[in-house]
Subunit: 264 residues, 6 copies
């Protein structure tokens, strides 16, 4: 295919380090203890696949609201695993691919993984890979089935494979009977409390303590202690927009309030 | 493809100045303070992408009723950005394209944009690009997914990209889970009050003050101060038709009244 | 394509005079003052596109019940415009065409029109061009989108284009969001009153005054002054069939009554 | 296509006499005065197209229950017309054709007809030609649209064409908006009364008068004078089966009673 | 096609004796007088087509529950006809065929039959040939239409053809408007009474009289004289399984009871 | 196909011993007497096909909840049969295959089996082979029909074939009318009671007796003696994960409890 031909060649083996690091652009801010637990559970699965003889194949689904940091966390776990082979399967790398080209791209990634002693395959944004759209609903069943079967395909003797997938559409995967194909799953949370938001604003160094006070005062209704429920990525982005506006505090508050309302 | 082959070649790089200017044929009439606010918010996003290190990719959706000037405003913001690369993706440039040809046209526009330090891609009339039709409903999921993923595809390191899209079908984009892919959105209003209409009629220089009085008197029921709710483009066009008719005032009033009724 | 290859070649430029004239085979009988108003409104749009600088592109939809003379009236307006380029896009010229061949046929007609200073494109029987069928419903979305975008595609600078389309399915075009793509629309009426029918029968010279009396007496219930609601083409055809039958009056009355009943 | 290649070549011009005669295998039994009226109305349309200048194109739909003799009557009218060109379009001649091959077969038949001064095209069993099936429902829209447009395509100047179509699915054609494409229609009746059946049994010479009495006595409930409602073809076929059975009367009665019940 | 190429070549003419005999592997056990009536009615249709001049084409549908012996009975009638040409169209011979390959396979079978003076075509398991599946429902309309039209295609003058089709899905064929295409139909019964089952068990020589008693005692509730409603093929198969089990009686009874329950 | 070409060549004949053994990786733990009964019933069918003259073709469906050991049991029966030809048809071997490639892969497996005197074909995970997905629902009807017909295709004279299929979707196969195509079926149970779980934990040698007590104490509500209803494979996998966690007991209990809840 046209686009296919244009994409830059990547080595079949080895770790796509740079590509993975770019997924953790904003770092990992520990705004909640849950973040550390997620990273720990990831290490556990890495160990189970890496050391034990008995589990040559294991798959985990990271799910959560949009912009909660699913991709960043999966990338972090993969990078920290120390496994010699890591591969990222991402919709952004398959723009303009035909259904068959996608199937082959995916199949090839798993085949390559099967050639390494211990491997991790990160399948990012599963619903986008399968071209999911709620009207219809429509999706590529061919790609879906390829993913479902690849998840269960035993690596050759002596090879071990950990699969980390991410999605915002856990309910959809359940309806597709895809959710059951995973051996385990991890829920990635939104930023929920005013304390969590406060922590992030401080870390960002974009606001003075007084500005932070103003911001918190004008978000939602602080006395209700209403759930904020906005993803970390959205918060970091809104901070950047606010920085450009003379009315920094107002712009940020409006952006977050709109995000909160959309979530309702 | 046949038609594909016939379309005139355009330079891959540089600004499609003339094409963009033709979108602002009727100028920008400031019939409401909202118009200026829209242009300002556009500048803000231009700055965020152009100057900051932290936001290499940002996307904005301009939505509003038909004929409200969405395309003209997006074009204006893009022209005024001063960015070295601006590209317009428009359904009118893809007449007779196959689904795959569309995907490649879109993918190529984004790839070209990724090659410039700072770029703007205007995606005009999203619902038409995806061949949306409410009966069915039907649309090209392949093209839709291409747009959704292109919107999220990070430009290479050091490159920055602002995406401005327009649509009359915000509700549809929501149902398609496409709306959430945008980082921000701007609502473009219709001409709503008699004062706004008065201002436009004066600017047009097509009617004498007395004729303007007559027009306003015969539109809707002025005492109700009913919302007019007609797009600026429709109003400008009706002025042109009226100019040809000996009964200029009557023809214009009938046209606007019919437009008001259709909106109900 | 096979059939494609067999159709006789027509000059790309110039007026398809003969083809258009054959659409007005039965002449224009002025059975109602509305007929003249329709022709006048047509002239107005011709003037707006032909003379003004400000409206290089304008589209009008003629809609009405089957057999009401939509095609004849559109052809009449086009012929009388005096524009150097007139093109008829008709389903009858696309029998056996694939979807893609249709798209190219339509795109080519508009491209040719864009090459002339002032042009008219008549798009006849829109619902048939898009292969509309109410069961399903089904239609060619590819052809529909081509028409929708072609209607909005600006001719090159200095070129002007008037588009006249016809349809019996106005409600369908509304549901398809196609109706809104037109800048204006004209409703073509059926023959409704006994006086209108009387006028046509006299003009046909097929019946003696006494036979006309008999006919009117046996159609519907004259005292109710019920709407007749039959298209002019159907009436002219029934006159022809009646001429062959020894029982001329009876045959004509039965045909019209059946047409009236079908309309209920 | 494979099958296409195997079918025997037929002259493009001239009358398919033998093929048409084979449609009237069982002759025309005048079991009801309606049969003669149908043939007369057919002659009237033949005259209108053949003699008048004003009606170069006319189409008639013969509809009725299965096995009522629609094909035989259309063939009879065509043979008796004396027109130099008659063509039968029948599903049996398109077994194994692709959709496109069907479209071309149909288009070619009409094109050939357009080359003769006066022609008749018989379109047999329309619902089968369009691959209609009530589950879905499904049908070939491509073939349907080809038929609809072919019916309206004016022959070249000076040429005249009468189209006779048959169908058992009048309601379906109405739902498909196809029924309205016909200029007139003829209803073909079933055998309804005991007298009609009696007449046919006598004509068949298969039963003695006494056997006929027995038959009539054991069909339905003669005192109710219930509608029989069975097609002439089915009756003629049941007579043939009965002839093979020692219990001729019983076999025939059982067959007809089953047919009556199915009709309920 | 691949599989197509691999299948062994069969003579186009002549009787597929061995293939047909293999359909009657288990013989014809006359467990009910209905079996003989079915064979007789088959002979009647054979005579009608074979001897009479008047019925060159006749089609019969054998329908009944699964495993009732439909295929065996159709094969028996065909073998006993003495006709010089007999052809079996069976889904088992079309594994891996594309839709078009199926259409050609069917069309060819009928074309070959048309070349013989008197022929029988057995169309086995119609619902499987058309790829029927109740979810959707889905089926190959192309293959269905081919069968429907082939059933009605008159053989050339002087040739005669009897068609015997089998199906378990009579209701489906009705919904598909296919059922009406047959000139007659025969219902094949299940094994219903204890006496019928007793007769079969005796014929099988697999059980001692005492074992037969035990079997009958433990099937259903003999006092209810409940309908057994199991197909002969299923009964014969269960006898074979039982023979392998030390607990012959118990195994057989369990198998039949499960079959009875499934039928509820 | 691409992937097709890459898969390693396997001998057409002979037993895929290694592949089958890998399906029984975890051995067969006799946690319930039902396990032995299943293996016995399997032997019975092996004998019926292997020894008797009368049943050259027999098919059995193993169905049960996910992870209950269906594939392992089918593999065990096949390996223990001693038949000279055994073939496994598994979705994992058809990743990236087109629909047609799948059909040929399946057809070829059965054709190879037909060449051996006695054969077993294991069709693993039927719902995945047919690309079943509950949304829509969608599936490959072409592959489904191929399986349905292959199951009924008689091997050549003197050849005998046993088919063992597995599925988690018995209800789906019923709706697809596929379930009836099998001559018999076997239900594979989940681990249901605390005693069964206890037995497995002991066999695993991963927990001390005291730890086992703790585990059982914290699973579900032991006093309710609630059904556990978790598949053996899931239990074995959870044991492996637990082994990596310092809190072995807690991790295992959480995993099982989550599995129990999902089952509700
Ligand atoms: N605790 C955290 N967890 C995850 N990401 C974090 C955290 N703190 C900061 N980040 C930053 O937030 C961003 C999270 O974006 P990411 O793309 O991973 O979100 P996502 O959930 O995958 O979004 P989407 O739903 O759009 O796929 C990254 O830039 C990451 O570096
Ligand atoms: N305040 C204004 N905002 C936008 N356009 C204006 C304004 N004043 C005048 N115009 C003129 O009105 C026209 C607006 O047309 P435009 O095509 O942008 O509308 P649109 O909303 O994109 O229409 P559509 O819904 O058909 O895509 C342009 O010719 C523009 O020059
Ligand atoms: N006042 C009139 N308006 C239109 N047509 C007229 C009038 N008087 C006579 N005619 C004749 O009536 C016929 C109208 O047919 P025409 O094909 O234009 O109808 P139509 O509405 O396009 O039909 P359809 O719905 O089938 O497309 C023409 O032959 C035309 O010459
Ligand atoms: N009065 C009659 N009208 C029509 N056909 C008659 C009549 N009398 C006898 N026949 C014979 O009856 C048969 C009618 O069959 P024909 O195929 O025309 O019926 P049909 O309505 O077209 O059936 P189908 O619904 O299956 O298409 C012919 O063989 C014809 O010769
Ligand atoms: N009276 C009988 N009628 C039919 N078949 C019988 C009879 N007695 C014994 N048989 C045997 O029973 C078997 C019937 O199987 P057959 O395949 O014909 O059934 P079927 O109804 O076609 O099944 P399916 O519904 O699966 O197509 C054959 O082996 C046949 O020899
Ligand atoms: N009694 C048992 N029955 C079956 N498998 C067992 C048993 N005891 C241990 N096992 C082991 O449990 C595992 C069962 O996994 P298997 O893949 O057969 O399950 P399955 O039901 O086919 O799963 P799926 O629903 O995912 O296809 C195998 O590794 C097998 O060796
Ligand atoms: Mg992500
Ligand atoms: Mg616009
Ligand atoms: Mg018309
Ligand atoms: Mg007929
Ligand atoms: Mg059968
Ligand atoms: Mg399994």
């Amino acid at each position: 295919d046209f686009y296919h031909a244009l994409e830059e060649v990547k080595p079949a083996f080895g770790i796509a380090e740079e590509e993975l690091e770019s997924c953790v652009q904003g770092g990992i801010i520990h705004f909640s203890p849950v973040i550390r637990e997620i990273l720990k559970e990831g290490q556990l699965f890495v160990k189970q696949v890496g050391e034990a003889n008995a589990t040559p194949l294991f798959s985990v689904l990271l799910h959560g609201h949009p912009a909660t940091g699913k991709t960043a966390l999966a990338a972090r776990i993969a990078i920290d695993s120390g496994f010699p082979f890591i591969r990222l399967i991402s919709p952004e790398d398959m723009v303009g691919f035909s259904e068959m080209a996608k199937v082959q791209h995916i199949a090839k990634a798993f085949m390559d993984a099967h050639k390494s002693r211990t491997s991790i395959v990160v399948v990012d944004n599963v619903e986008r890979i399968i071209d999911w759209v709620p009207i219809g609903p429509r999706f590529s069943n061919t790609v879906l089935q390829t993913l479902m079967v690849s998840l269960r395909k035993q690596p050759p003797k002596g090879r071990r494979l950990l699969i980390l997938a991410t999605t915002t559409e856990r309910a959809v995967l359940k309806q597709l009977d895809f959710y059951n194909s995973f051996d385990s799953d991890i829920m990635v949370p939104t930023v929920n409390t005013y304390d969590e938001l406060l922590y992030i604003l401080e870390q960002s160094e974009a606001f003075s303590p007084q500005e932070i006070d103003e911001v918190l005062g004008s978000i939602g209704d602080i006395h209700d202690n209403r759930r904020i429920g906005v993803g970390i990525k959205k918060i970091l982005l809104s901070i950047e927009t606010a920085k450009q506006d003379p009315d920094k505090v107002g712009r940020f508050a409006r952006a977050i309030n709109r995000a909160i309302d959309e979530d309702l």
